[in-house]
């Protein structure tokens, strides 16, 4: 009987899982960033709360939330396994290495950047996701929607919280700077015409997404958004 054999446990299969889940998480970032950017309308959160209400109640979004958690877990678990396996592939380390001569530091530090993001996610999910899904949002805005915006405003009055978010977004930028184009290479999508476009898109995506996300806590803390 024909089977997929070692398709997923092989070295290329493990990369495939990282690449596909990575691209899926990128698509999530795009949606998340778009909805959150509604705070920049700066209307006391009325528009943002409509977006948040939609995300919390739409059945397709809720179903995708389960897929998202599965994808995120797969990315984290597989990523950590790869880090340990790859370290084991060189039991005796070099006394001197000069990685800067042949590769980017963030390409060599995906495990570290990912771990920073994982720690950030614990903070971030308990800040907002747990509140909106489980413990409940305490107040409603003037249009009658649950006021997630108010929760944000309160949270980002604390300087160290803002600092954690900004640092995490710097990590995200570098993680994506490698990960975006790398995912396509892993899937075998290397092409003389498309690869330069993918690489450029990856750079722009990493920078724009990270700046937009980081601008949210900063704008709230500095009072630009009330």
């Amino acid at each position: 009987m024909a089977s997929f054999g070692n398709a997923f446990s092989s070295s290329i299969g493990k990369k495939l899982i990282m690449g596909i889940t990575g691209l899926f998480l990128i698509s999530f970032l795009l949606v998340h960033c778009f909805i959150n950017s509604l705070i920049f309308v700066n209307d006391g959160g009325l528009t943002f709360n409509v977006g948040a209400h939609f995300m919390a109640t739409n059945w397709l979004i809720r179903a995708m939330e389960v897929v998202l958690m599965a994808g995120l877990l797969a990315h984290i678990i597989q990523g950590l396994r790869l880090v340990f396996q790859n370290q084991a592939a060189r039991p005796v380390k070099y006394a001197v290495t000069n990685g800067a001569a042949n590769s980017k530091w963030y390409s060599r530090s995906m495990g570290l950047l990912g771990t920073i993001l994982l720690i950030f996610l614990v903070v971030h999910l308990s800040d907002f996701w747990v509140v909106s899904r489980f413990t409940g949002i305490p107040t409603h805005d003037t249009a009658g929607h649950e006021d997630l915006y108010a929760v944000m405003i309160v949270r980002f009055q604390t300087p160290w919280v803002v600092a954690i978010y900004v640092l995490a977004m710097i990590s995200l930028a570098y993680h994506l700077l490698h990960g975006f184009a790398s995912a396509f290479q892993t899937l075998g999508w290397n092409h003389k015409k498309y690869t330069p476009i993918i690489k450029a898109a990856g750079v722009w995506f990493s920078i724009i997404i990270s700046i937009l996300f980081a601008a949210m806590p900063v704008a709230i803390y500095t009072g630009l958004i009330k």
């Binding site: 009987m1 024909a2 089977s3 997929f4 054999g5 070692n6 398709a7 092989s10 070295s11 290329i12 299969g13 493990k14 990369k15 495939l16 790869l82 396996q85 790859n86 084991a88 592939a89 060189r90 039991p91 005796v92 380390k93 070099y94 006394a95 001197v96 290495t97 000069n98 990685g99 001569a101 042949n102 590769s103 980017k104 390409s107 060599r108 995906m110 490698h178 184009a181 790398s182 290479q185 892993t186 899937l187 075998g188 999508w189 290397n190």
Partner: protein
């Protein structure tokens, strides 16, 4: 015989055999000519060690023309030393300065155990080739040059992949000790030519399985291998290998 004026401090990995632990040992060398190759500098050192009754440093070398892939030193944190597109035998002492300290280590990977000093066992590469890096037909006499038309672009790309000399610099420099650049080159040189087609999807599965069994790490696309490869083997080959492997696993109905 040395007539130069360079004074150097070498820190060289000395290891008796696979089972014992090694360590870096300091050696002072004087009157080294900048026109010597790196291996000739090692010859001078070994002459001195032998005349003192010490054990000479064991290192791999063969053609000393940059085409065989035997030499394999990790010099100051880089395979084949500081220059690009060359093997250690083509590195000359003019690439260093008088008074420099040079650290020389063997390739380090679980799949490349140290045999002695700077020599490592690279037969893992041979076993990967033996797993599928061939075509199982009797080719017979040389055919007419144009009996099998191959587009120029494809022929060039296959030839560039075939330039791999199997030195192992890609494994040595990869932070994951991954052999994907080597294996993908050996797959690509056949996958792009008509003679390689019948076994194309079998080959990629067998060779990747052997590569994994040897204990090489997993590629994370840092690009270090491509940058350090003395023959300029491209990352495009790794993408081609991934493509062929995934097609073989998810499209082909044949089990390997």
């Amino acid at each position: 015989m040395s007539t130069g004026n360079m004074n150097l401090t070498l820190k060289i990995w000395r290891q008796k055999n696979t089972k014992t632990n090694g360590k870096l040992v300091d050696y002072k060398l004087s009157e080294i000519s900048p026109d010597m190759s790196f291996l000739e500098m090692f010859d001078v050192l070994n002459e001195q060690l032998i005349s003192k009754g010490d054990e000479p440093v064991v290192f791999d070398h063969d053609c000393r023309e940059g085409i065989c892939g035997a030499c394999s030193m990790f010099i100051n944190g880089r395979p084949h030393g500081p220059k690009e597109g060359i093997t250690t035998c083509q590195l000359h002492m003019r690439s260093f300065k008088d008074g420099d300290t040079i650290v020389v280590e063997p390739w380090r990977a679980k799949a490349f155990p140290v045999i002695k000093d700077l020599t490592v066992d690279r037969t893992a590469f041979d076993r990967v080739i033996a797993a599928g890096g061939f075509i199982s037909v009797n080719t017979g006499n040389a055919q007419d040059a144009n009996s099998l038309p191959i587009p120029k672009v494809q022929a060039d790309s296959a030839f560039e992949a075939a330039a791999c000399i199997g030195c192992g610099a890609c494994v040595a420099t990869c932070k994951n000790a991954s052999a994907m650049l080597f294996v993908s080159a050996k797959i690509s040189q056949l996958a792009q030519l008509p003679q390689g087609q019948p076994e194309r999807y079998r080959r990629v599965q067998s060779m990747v399985a052997q590569m994994d069994a040897e204990g090489f790490g997993n590629c994370t696309n840092t690009g270090a291998c491509e940058a350090e490869c003395p023959k300029g083997i491209s990352l495009e080959n790794i993408a081609r290998m991934n493509r062929d492997f995934l097609s073989a696993k998810f499209v082909s109905e044949e089990d390997i």
